[in-house]
């Protein structure tokens, strides 16, 4: 193994848009790869270049068996190893980190892609995430299950509709400064509170917009990082955790899997007090209620104190989602990769108007499964 740490040497994000009808996934990824190559000069050379790709996409969203099948050749990666993280994309960084630390390879290209505009409805895709015996017959999907969780959480943490509206307004404020964000129009509290119900208590503006996007990153061993960048960002820790499948087996407000994932990631990164040591947080908040709720799970405020956290400007104090976050729109399956890409830009001081001054340690988060069944936490540092 060449060094004990893994570096992110370069990131490239495709701008999130609602319907990129004129470009296929290969085109989006080629744009990202060319940007990575321009930044680093990396090639697909057998001895010195990329030999391992960890991709992330989903067969159901793409309606294609082996949704990564058409990617490698289009990018010029013939004869290379390519493995697909068939869950949310932040996990591909955790896995790529392990590939490098194992000594199996010292350079990994991470590619995430999804065009949410292609399926008829995201809810049909996530409806298929439920078992055919109990979940599907009652019409569950990630939206209506999140609504159950939202109601339970709002009761518990005294989070009101107005709190949620302020979360959305703040997200749009920062998204307006992020060239990669989708939903960048400013909104007001009243607009959010009057937007149509999607599924009680979730309103249209509480939910992330349908988005097409792609992300690429180049990861290397500590020994080789200098070949590709003079500003590496190091992966200090990663962990994820699974909760029970059946909603009735869970306390929907418990943050069980998020708390475990955060604890393990903090341990690996040597973090004792996240509120002191982490300078910015990029959260996967697909719905507005999730921002305070996940912040509880990450240990930035006490359990059930989400309303107070929002009232006391927690999101600003801890620099949560300066990118606009998931609320500004990313594809569900690669939201965590976008979160990590923003965190890397922040740590490199490349975040422009949304830059957190002096940021040296960042947290990127993602979740998959109904009502946060599965959470992932990544810690990055300079």
């Amino acid at each position: 193994m060449a060094g004990k740490r893994v570096a992110i040497c370069a990131v490239a994000q495709h701008r999130n848009v609602s319907d990129l009808w004129y470009k296929r996934i290969q085109g989006m990824l080629l744009d990202c790869l060319e940007e990575i190559q321009a930044q680093t000069g990396v090639t697909f050379d057998e001895d010195t270049g990329i030999n391992t790709i960890v991709s992330c996409s989903d067969d159901v969203f793409d309606a294609r068996t082996i949704s990564d099948a058409g990617v490698g050749d289009a990018l010029g990666a013939q004869y290379k190893c390519e493995e697909k993280m068939a869950q949310e994309g932040l996990n591909s960084l955790g896995y790529a980190m392990s590939v490098i630390l194992s000594g199996h390879d010292d350079l990994v290209l991470v590619l995430g892609h999804c065009k949410e505009s292609q399926p008829e409805s995201r809810n049909i895709c996530t409806h298929l995430g439920f078992d055919p015996f109990y979940g599907r017959p009652v019409g569950l999907d990630y939206l209506n299950v999140s609504a159950l969780q939202a109601r339970a959480y709002m009761e518990r943490a005294q989070v009101t509709e107005e709190h949620l509206a302020r979360v959305v307004v703040r997200s749009r404020h920062w998204a307006g400064k992020n060239p990669y964000a989708n939903a960048r129009e400013m909104v007001e509290v009243g607009q959010v509170m009057a937007s149509p119900r999607l599924c009680d208590p979730i309103r249209t503006l509480h939910a992330y917009p349908v988005s097409d996007g792609a992300v690429a990153m180049l990861l290397s061993s500590e020994a080789r990082a200098g070949e590709f960048t003079d500003r590496p960002v190091w992966i200090a820790g990663f962990a994820n955790c699974m909760d029970s499948y059946f909603l009735g087996d869970r306390d929907l407000t418990s943050n069980f899997s998020l708390k475990n994932a955060a604890r393990w990631a903090y341990e690996e990164a040597g973090i004792k007090d996240p509120t002191e040591e982490i300078h910015l947080v990029e959260l996967m908040d697909a719905y507005a209620y999730q921002q305070p709720m996940w912040m509880e799970g990450l240990g930035f405020c006490r359990d059930g104190a989400g309303a107070r956290f929002l009232d006391e400007d927690g999101p600003d104090r801890f620099h949560v989602n300066r990118s606009g976050g998931m609320l500004a729109g990313n594809p569900l399956m690669i939201a965590g990769l976008y979160r990590a890409a923003e965190a890397v830009m922040q740590l490199r001081g490349e975040a422009g108007e949304r830059q957190v001054p002096g940021a040296r340690k960042a947290l990127a988060h993602s979740t998959t499964g109904p009502a946060g069944q599965f959470h992932s936490v990544l810690i990055l540092e300079t």
Partner: protein, 397 residues
């Protein structure tokens, strides 16, 4: 990449498989997964609490289940644990092994359980495979079986129709003889070599030279394998099987557009690279068994030449001389291989599980007679994607 040392050694300390069959109406997906997980834990004499991380894989569109690991967690035991879900089509099971090896070798997890599954009865397998093809260019043409036929016609062109057809049928009957010794195998037909002539003329044609009898089944089943770091493997198991190296090679090649000039196959490329970096000059001499992902008897026979870096008709001659039989020079698929059982997401993992059982000497009736010190397992998926995995009895390389 220049070859570098693995951070730490990784051993297989437990394997579990369900029986493979066309229907498993008595079990839902998590229950079927659970059967394999229980078997692997029992094989390793471990409780689920000893597993740090679970790696899950299957192909969503075969069962039409989005992110199936979430529901399957009822059977995998992943609750409260770390988990990854990694897939690469037919190679998925082999990729799970590569991933588990990487995760343990990284030093970040001491014990990892890899689980591959498929319940093909619940979906439409050929529909799922056709759906793999590019929607703009290939989807009107692609099926899984077509590719085998192009291999068949190339072999007929090279070796003559009579010899090629006989060799392919010999291969098929040999696999059935092996499957007859494996109680977990799905199709166990009891074929005899005397039936070859008859089958060559009567088995229904799927496409061109490819007949039903040549082709793999579609099966239900799951396979779980437990990996541990060297230190843990030695303390938890008295016979760990070591994962020496693995390689994955992917190329999207639905059809050869280069006419008579055939680009190097991913099988030969993978074999050449992995043997080179491990100093293996004669794979045929080095390995004691080979568990190959052989979706049809045409492809299986054709790929032997590639994987073993043979030339001309060497693979035909070895087959004709019985060198791939259980008592031959290189016993091939003692389990009966993929033609006998093909639960796609579990298939390539089963190759590794069976190879590990052979190394341990625990394969039962289909255990080869000689001592197995070095085993090779392969995965096949998508459009000519290859994974090769080397297993060793002793940590002495």
């Amino acid at each position: 990449m220049k070859r570098q040392k693995k951070n730490r050694h990784v051993g297989i300390i437990g394997v579990g498989q369900t029986a493979f069959s066309s229907h498993k109406e008595h079990q839902n997906q998590p229950e079927m997964v659970h059967e394999a997980v229980r078997a692997a834990l029992e094989d390793a004499s471990l409780g689920i609490e000893k597993i740090d991380c679970v790696v899950h894989g299957n192909m969503e569109l075969f069962e039409m289940q989005f992110q199936p690991d979430l529901w399957h967690s009822l059977g995998t035991g992943a609750r409260g644990k770390q988990q990854y879900r990694i897939t690469t089509g037919g190679t998925t099971g082999a990729t799970l092994v590569c991933a588990a090896d990487n995760l343990v070798a990284s030093g970040r997890y001491d014990t990892v359980m890899a689980i591959g599954m498929e319940k093909l009865q619940e979906g439409h397998t050929t529909g799922g495979i056709t759906n793999m093809a590019c929607p703009l260019w290939h989807r009107n043409l692609q099926t899984g079986a077509l590719g085998s036929n192009t291999a068949a016609t190339a072999m007929i062109e090279e070796f003559g129709a009579d010899r090629a057809r006989r060799a392919s049928m010999h291969y098929r009957i040999m696999m059935d003889k092996h499957a007859m010794l494996n109680p977990k195998a799905h199709r166990r037909l009891g074929l005899e070599y005397e039936q070859a002539e008859h089958l060559m003329g009567t088995s229904p044609v799927l496409v061109g030279e490819l007949r039903l009898i040549h082709n793999c089944s579609q099966s239900d089943g799951a396979c779980a394998i437990i990996f541990a770091s060297e230190e843990k493997a030695r303390s938890m198991s008295d016979r760990p099987v070591w994962v020496r190296d693995h390689i994955s090679v992917h190329r999207e090649e639905a059809y050869n557009i280069f006419g008579k000039v055939r680009p190097e196959s991913t099988m030969r490329y993978a074999a050449r690279r992995i043997f080179e970096r491990n100093g293996i000059k004669k794979p045929l001499e080095y390995f004691d068994i080979f568990e190959m992902y052989d979706p049809s008897s045409w492809w299986g026979l054709d790929w032997l030449r590639e994987f073993l870096l043979l030339e001309g008709d060497e693979h035909f001659r070895l087959l004709e001389a019985g060198e791939f039989d259980l008592d031959g020079k290189l016993p091939l698929n003692p389990s009966g291989g993929v033609i006998a059982s093909n639960p796609i997401g579990a298939t390539a993992a089963t190759r590794v599980a069976e190879a590990a059982l052979q190394v341990r000497g625990d394969a039962g009736e289909h255990q080869v007679k000689k001592e197995v010190k070095h085993a090779l397992a392969s995965g096949f998926g998508g459009t000519r994607w290859t994974v090769l995995i080397m297993l060793e009895k002793d940590l002495d390389w």
